[in-house]
Symmetry: C2
Subunit: 222 residues, 2 copies
DNA sequence: GTCTGTCCGATGGTATACCAACATACCATC
DNA sequence: GATGGTATGTTGGTATACCATCGGACAGAC
């Protein structure tokens, strides 16, 4: 028996529970801007749109609420959270600290597989189109945080990214940057490959400082 | 009408929803160590213990799940999250960054009312007994983060503190510190009162470095 | 005795129905 | 036009039912 590949036989039933699917769908919809800030999330309407029962919708909304994407007003119900520059600024500042620190730690512990994973993500960012860039960018940072061993910081950054997701889409698509986005990423990867922690931190901080500027312009233009 | 104090007439019904009460109770119970790590949280049992219906319990568990205090195993149900040093170490590192940064910003923007609020919290820490210390310490940091304008960072720190709450109780109670806890807090407050950002950051970082050491000893002693 | 298959209870996941409290909009009355 | 009542929509909360899964108990076959 032991010379038989168990993976071949494995029946993989989707362990995905209905709630998880509904959560991902709704979160993605909010992040994609399908529900603008301030939109009321009426439970029964969502039941129809998602095709699930009210219990599922309610639990999903509780999760999004603690994630900060939704806030519930007393006697009014859940509403898609609005985003202003005061908040976004704080988010970028926190990301700057956590990502800078992770990049430095990553540079100190990185090995060949890490370099390869970063290069791969970078390639996807370069020639991938539209939303591929979004996923590849996320992957790029995931590699950095994981290699640094900063799993909890990565959780936090992901949650923060959910909040400013609309801005992120805008800044990633911006064409008028002083230095193109992929170029900045490449610098980060290069610093890590050179095992130069200080340079990696600097590269990340520069990247985020610029992203914050772009976000500010976009937000105040609204 | 307008010369009548509306506050006098106001009937303040507790806007607290049942779910919020249940959430606070259960979270407090976990933090207090009433449910040790690994304990199964059986829905129907919690219904009896809390006196609410299963829907409420489920939504509460979803919140605690995204807060990181509870994790749900597939086909097994929710379980109180365990805490190991690898995680706690990351938490203390993140707190060091966020709290250090907040203290520095606070020192640069503080005014007389902030100094007074910090002094008040400090007094409570000094002569308050047992769990008063816990609340007063929280208050102390809340003042710092709020004065710094770092509201989102404060949210994050609070959530992180939930995760390491047991450790926090231990380290706050530790008597064998090189420098007593209140003394360290006083140094932070003094640096802020002197508007010395760098010193405030340093004081916070020292405080947390020591707390992390105490936590490590406590955790590995288990 | 050990292995195998089956059954049952406990549990979580999902869905539905129902009621109460509250807020808003609308409408009739004066 | 202002007042008051009413209708409606929405959330909060509860109860209940059904299904899938898991683990253990039990009985039968080797």
């Amino acid at each position: 028996m032991e010379h038989m590949a168990p993976d071949e036989l494995r029946i993989d039933r989707p362990p995905q529970t209905l709630r998880v699917i509904a959560l991902d769908r709704l979160r993605a919809a909010i992040i994609a801007g399908r529900f603008p800030g301030g939109t009321r999330l009426v439970e029964r309407t969502l039941c129809d749109q998602l095709g699930v029962s009210r219990s599922v919708v309610r639990e999903v909304i509780r999760v999004l609420e603690t994630e900060g994407l939704v806030e519930t007003l007393p006697n009014r119900g859940p509403v898609v959270a609005r985003l202003d520059w005061a908040q976004a600024r704080q988010v970028y500042e926190i990301r700057r600290q956590l990502e800078g620190n992770a990049a430095e730690a990553c540079a100190q512990r990185a090995d060949a597989p890490v370099d390869a994973a970063l290069a791969e993500a970078l390639a996807s960012i370069r020639d991938g189109g539209e939303d591929r860039v979004f996923a590849a960018t996320t992957r790029f940072y995931e590699v950095i945080f994981t290699a640094a061993g900063h799993h909890i910081a990565w959780e936090i950054v992901q949650r923060l990214n959910g909040r400013i997701s609309r801005l992120r889409a805008l800044t990633l698509a911006a064409q008028d940057r002083a230095v193109p986005g992929p170029e900045r990423m490449a610098r980060i990867a290069a610093a890590i490959a050179a095992r130069d922690g200080a340079a990696a931190r600097r590269a990340v901080e520069e990247h985020l400082t610029e992203a914050a500027m772009l976000a500010q312009r976009a937000l105040e233009g609204e």
